[in-house]
Protein backbone atom coordinates (compact mmCIF):
# COMPACT_ATOMS: atom_id res chain seq x y z
CA UNK A 1 0.00 0.00 0.00
CA UNK A 2 1.13 3.46 -0.73
CA UNK A 3 1.55 5.38 2.45
CA UNK A 4 0.32 8.94 2.36
CA UNK A 5 2.01 9.73 5.61
CA UNK A 6 4.83 12.22 5.55
CA UNK A 7 8.35 11.02 6.45
CA UNK A 8 8.12 13.04 9.66
CA UNK A 9 4.90 11.37 10.78
CA UNK A 10 6.35 7.93 10.03
CA UNK A 11 9.40 8.66 12.16
CA UNK A 12 7.33 10.04 15.03
CA UNK A 13 6.65 7.64 17.85
CA UNK A 14 9.44 5.28 16.84
CA UNK A 15 11.53 6.83 19.57
CA UNK A 16 14.48 9.11 19.16
CA UNK A 17 17.96 8.05 20.23
CA UNK A 18 17.57 10.01 23.45
CA UNK A 19 19.72 7.55 25.41
CA UNK A 20 22.53 7.74 22.89
CA UNK A 21 23.53 11.16 24.10
CA UNK A 22 23.86 9.88 27.67
CA UNK A 23 26.23 7.09 26.58
CA UNK A 24 28.25 9.51 24.50
CA UNK A 25 28.59 11.98 27.37
CA UNK A 26 29.39 9.22 29.90
CA UNK A 27 32.22 7.99 27.68
CA UNK A 28 33.70 11.51 27.59
CA UNK A 29 33.23 12.24 31.29
CA UNK A 30 34.93 8.96 32.25
CA UNK A 31 37.70 9.75 29.74
CA UNK A 32 38.39 13.10 31.40
CA UNK A 33 38.45 11.48 34.86
CA UNK A 34 40.80 8.75 33.65
CA UNK A 35 43.50 11.17 32.44
CA UNK A 36 44.78 12.07 35.95
CA UNK A 37 43.88 8.64 37.37
CA UNK A 38 45.94 6.78 34.75
CA UNK A 39 48.93 9.10 35.21
CA UNK A 40 48.72 8.51 38.97
CA UNK A 41 48.42 4.75 38.42
CA UNK A 42 51.54 4.68 36.20
CA UNK A 43 53.53 6.37 38.97
CA UNK A 44 52.02 3.97 41.52
CA UNK A 45 52.97 1.00 39.34
CA UNK A 46 56.64 2.05 39.47
CA UNK A 47 56.43 2.20 43.28
CA UNK A 48 54.61 -1.13 43.59
CA UNK A 49 56.95 -2.94 41.20
CA UNK A 50 59.81 -2.43 43.67
CA UNK A 51 58.07 -3.85 46.74
CA UNK A 52 56.81 -7.28 47.77
CA UNK A 53 53.49 -8.33 49.32
CA UNK A 54 54.08 -6.53 52.62
CA UNK A 55 55.11 -3.37 50.78
CA UNK A 56 52.02 -3.45 48.58
CA UNK A 57 49.74 -3.93 51.61
CA UNK A 58 51.51 -1.11 53.43
CA UNK A 59 51.07 1.11 50.34
CA UNK A 60 47.32 0.45 50.35
CA UNK A 61 47.01 1.10 54.10
CA UNK A 62 49.32 4.11 54.38
CA UNK A 63 46.74 6.77 53.52
CA UNK A 64 43.11 6.77 52.33
CA UNK A 65 44.31 8.37 49.08
CA UNK A 66 45.89 5.25 47.56
CA UNK A 67 42.97 2.80 47.99
CA UNK A 68 40.39 5.45 47.07
CA UNK A 69 42.19 6.48 43.87
CA UNK A 70 42.73 2.82 43.00
CA UNK A 71 39.02 2.05 43.49
CA UNK A 72 38.13 5.08 41.36
CA UNK A 73 40.58 3.97 38.66
CA UNK A 74 39.05 0.48 38.58
CA UNK A 75 35.41 1.63 38.72
CA UNK A 76 35.72 4.44 36.16
CA UNK A 77 38.14 2.40 34.03
CA UNK A 78 35.80 -0.57 33.77
CA UNK A 79 32.86 1.76 33.09
CA UNK A 80 34.78 3.46 30.28
CA UNK A 81 35.94 0.19 28.75
CA UNK A 82 32.42 -1.21 28.87
CA UNK A 83 31.26 1.84 26.90
CA UNK A 84 34.18 1.51 24.47
CA UNK A 85 33.83 -2.18 23.72
CA UNK A 86 30.07 -1.78 23.42
CA UNK A 87 30.61 0.60 20.50
CA UNK A 88 33.12 -1.80 18.91
CA UNK A 89 30.59 -4.68 19.13
CA UNK A 90 27.78 -2.48 17.79
CA UNK A 91 29.97 -1.41 14.86
CA UNK A 92 31.23 -4.81 13.74
CA UNK A 93 28.75 -7.49 14.85
CA UNK A 94 25.51 -7.48 12.87
CA UNK A 95 24.07 -10.91 13.73
CA UNK A 96 21.33 -10.04 16.27
CA UNK A 97 21.87 -12.91 18.73
CA UNK A 98 25.68 -12.72 18.61
CA UNK A 99 25.45 -8.97 19.10
CA UNK A 100 23.13 -9.28 22.10
CA UNK A 101 25.27 -12.08 23.54
CA UNK A 102 28.51 -10.12 23.19
CA UNK A 103 26.95 -6.96 24.65
CA UNK A 104 25.75 -8.95 27.66
CA UNK A 105 29.15 -10.66 27.99
CA UNK A 106 30.88 -7.27 27.86
CA UNK A 107 28.61 -5.93 30.61
CA UNK A 108 28.96 -9.01 32.81
CA UNK A 109 32.75 -9.26 32.44
CA UNK A 110 33.18 -5.57 33.29
CA UNK A 111 30.79 -5.73 36.25
CA UNK A 112 32.28 -8.96 37.63
CA UNK A 113 35.97 -8.12 37.17
CA UNK A 114 35.43 -4.55 38.38
CA UNK A 115 33.53 -5.68 41.47
CA UNK A 116 36.10 -8.36 42.31
CA UNK A 117 38.90 -5.81 42.00
CA UNK A 118 37.12 -3.18 44.14
CA UNK A 119 36.26 -5.75 46.82
CA UNK A 120 39.86 -7.03 46.86
CA UNK A 121 41.31 -3.53 47.20
CA UNK A 122 38.94 -2.68 50.06
CA UNK A 123 39.59 -6.01 51.78
CA UNK A 124 43.34 -5.34 51.85
CA UNK A 125 42.99 -1.63 52.64
CA UNK A 126 40.59 -2.24 55.53
CA UNK A 127 42.88 -4.86 57.01
CA UNK A 128 41.09 -8.11 56.26
CA UNK A 129 43.92 -9.72 54.33
Amino acid sequence: MVSYRTPLSRARGLGAAKHGVGHWIAERVTAVALVPLVLWALAAALTLAKVDYAGAVAWLRATPVNPVLLVLLVAIGFWHMHAGLRVVVEDYIHVPMSKAGLLLLNLFVCALAGSLAVFSILKVALGGA
Binding site: A31, V32, Y53, V74, A113, G114, L116, S120, I121
Partner: protein
Amino acid sequence: MTDTSRRLREPPLSPHLQVWRWHVTMLTSILHRASGVALYVGALVLAAWAMSLAAGPEAYGTFKAALGSFPGKVVLFAMTAAVFYHLANGVRHLVWDAGHGLDIKTADVTAYFVIGFAAVATLAFWIAAAMMGAL
Protein backbone atom coordinates in the same frame (compact mmCIF):
# COMPACT_ATOMS: atom_id res chain seq x y z
CA MET B 1 -3.07 -3.27 -4.93
CA THR B 2 -0.11 -1.19 -5.81
CA ASP B 3 3.54 -2.05 -5.55
CA THR B 4 3.71 -4.13 -2.32
CA SER B 5 6.42 -6.29 -3.87
CA ARG B 6 8.72 -3.39 -4.54
CA ARG B 7 11.94 -3.91 -2.62
CA LEU B 8 13.50 -1.11 -0.66
CA ARG B 9 16.40 0.44 -2.51
CA GLU B 10 19.73 -0.82 -1.16
CA PRO B 11 21.33 1.95 0.89
CA PRO B 12 24.64 3.21 -0.47
CA LEU B 13 27.69 1.66 1.16
CA SER B 14 30.74 3.61 2.15
CA PRO B 15 33.85 2.54 0.21
CA HIS B 16 35.66 -0.45 1.61
CA LEU B 17 38.80 -0.04 3.67
CA GLN B 18 41.25 -0.97 0.91
CA VAL B 19 40.19 1.73 -1.56
CA TRP B 20 41.24 4.54 0.77
CA ARG B 21 44.64 6.08 0.35
CA TRP B 22 46.58 5.19 3.47
CA HIS B 23 46.73 8.17 5.79
CA VAL B 24 48.11 8.91 9.23
CA THR B 25 44.72 9.95 10.66
CA MET B 26 43.38 6.58 9.54
CA LEU B 27 46.21 4.86 11.41
CA THR B 28 45.55 6.82 14.61
CA SER B 29 41.84 5.98 14.42
CA ILE B 30 42.50 2.25 14.00
CA LEU B 31 45.18 2.32 16.73
CA HIS B 32 42.75 4.01 19.13
CA ARG B 33 40.35 1.07 18.85
CA ALA B 34 43.15 -1.49 18.93
CA SER B 35 44.78 0.04 22.01
CA GLY B 36 41.37 0.31 23.70
CA VAL B 37 40.70 -3.38 23.15
CA ALA B 38 44.24 -4.20 24.35
CA LEU B 39 43.62 -2.19 27.51
CA TYR B 40 40.56 -4.34 28.14
CA VAL B 41 43.05 -7.14 28.76
CA GLY B 42 45.18 -4.73 30.79
CA ALA B 43 42.25 -3.91 33.07
CA LEU B 44 41.66 -7.62 33.64
CA VAL B 45 45.35 -7.96 34.59
CA LEU B 46 44.86 -5.07 37.06
CA ALA B 47 41.81 -6.83 38.54
CA ALA B 48 43.78 -10.08 38.81
CA TRP B 49 46.59 -8.17 40.56
CA ALA B 50 44.12 -6.82 43.17
CA MET B 51 42.63 -10.29 43.67
CA SER B 52 46.06 -11.89 44.12
CA LEU B 53 46.92 -9.25 46.71
CA ALA B 54 43.72 -10.02 48.60
CA ALA B 55 44.50 -13.76 48.36
CA GLY B 56 47.70 -13.40 50.42
CA PRO B 57 51.50 -13.37 50.18
CA GLU B 58 51.87 -16.66 48.30
CA ALA B 59 49.36 -15.83 45.55
CA TYR B 60 50.76 -12.31 45.26
CA GLY B 61 54.31 -13.64 44.95
CA THR B 62 53.28 -16.02 42.17
CA PHE B 63 51.37 -13.30 40.33
CA LYS B 64 54.17 -10.75 40.63
CA ALA B 65 56.73 -13.32 39.45
CA ALA B 66 54.55 -14.00 36.39
CA LEU B 67 54.39 -10.27 35.61
CA GLY B 68 58.14 -9.97 36.15
CA SER B 69 59.01 -12.89 33.83
CA PHE B 70 60.08 -12.17 30.24
CA PRO B 71 56.65 -12.86 28.65
CA GLY B 72 55.05 -10.90 31.50
CA LYS B 73 57.32 -7.94 30.80
CA VAL B 74 56.52 -8.10 27.07
CA VAL B 75 52.79 -7.93 27.88
CA LEU B 76 53.36 -5.08 30.36
CA PHE B 77 55.47 -3.19 27.80
CA ALA B 78 52.69 -3.51 25.22
CA MET B 79 50.17 -2.38 27.87
CA THR B 80 52.28 0.69 28.69
CA ALA B 81 52.46 1.60 25.00
CA ALA B 82 48.68 1.11 24.69
CA VAL B 83 48.06 3.26 27.80
CA PHE B 84 50.21 6.16 26.59
CA TYR B 85 48.79 5.98 23.07
CA HIS B 86 45.14 5.73 24.16
CA LEU B 87 45.70 8.50 26.74
CA ALA B 88 47.22 10.95 24.26
CA ASN B 89 44.84 10.13 21.42
CA GLY B 90 41.93 10.23 23.88
CA VAL B 91 42.86 13.81 24.78
CA ARG B 92 43.02 14.52 21.01
CA HIS B 93 39.49 13.17 20.69
CA LEU B 94 38.30 15.32 23.62
CA VAL B 95 39.76 18.40 21.92
CA TRP B 96 37.90 17.43 18.74
CA ASP B 97 34.70 16.98 20.76
CA ALA B 98 35.14 20.56 21.95
CA GLY B 99 35.22 21.58 18.27
CA HIS B 100 38.93 22.34 17.86
CA GLY B 101 41.65 20.93 15.62
CA LEU B 102 39.32 19.30 13.12
CA ASP B 103 40.95 20.67 9.96
CA ILE B 104 43.12 18.23 7.99
CA LYS B 105 46.44 19.97 8.65
CA THR B 106 45.98 20.12 12.44
CA ALA B 107 44.62 16.57 12.54
CA ASP B 108 47.75 15.36 10.72
CA VAL B 109 50.10 17.25 13.04
CA THR B 110 48.36 16.00 16.19
CA ALA B 111 48.34 12.45 14.77
CA TYR B 112 52.14 12.46 14.42
CA PHE B 113 52.46 14.10 17.83
CA VAL B 114 50.33 11.41 19.50
CA ILE B 115 52.33 8.57 17.91
CA GLY B 116 55.59 10.28 18.87
CA PHE B 117 54.39 10.92 22.41
CA ALA B 118 53.35 7.29 22.89
CA ALA B 119 56.74 6.04 21.69
CA VAL B 120 58.79 8.49 23.78
CA ALA B 121 56.65 8.15 26.92
CA THR B 122 56.73 4.35 26.78
CA LEU B 123 60.52 4.29 26.46
CA ALA B 124 60.91 6.97 29.17
CA PHE B 125 58.65 4.99 31.52
CA TRP B 126 60.68 1.79 31.11
CA ILE B 127 63.99 3.63 31.40
CA ALA B 128 62.68 5.26 34.60
CA ALA B 129 61.58 1.83 35.85
CA ALA B 130 65.04 0.41 35.15
CA MET B 131 66.78 3.35 36.84
CA MET B 132 64.53 3.07 39.90
CA GLY B 133 65.25 -0.64 40.15
CA ALA B 134 61.62 -1.54 39.49
CA LEU B 135 62.33 -4.14 36.76
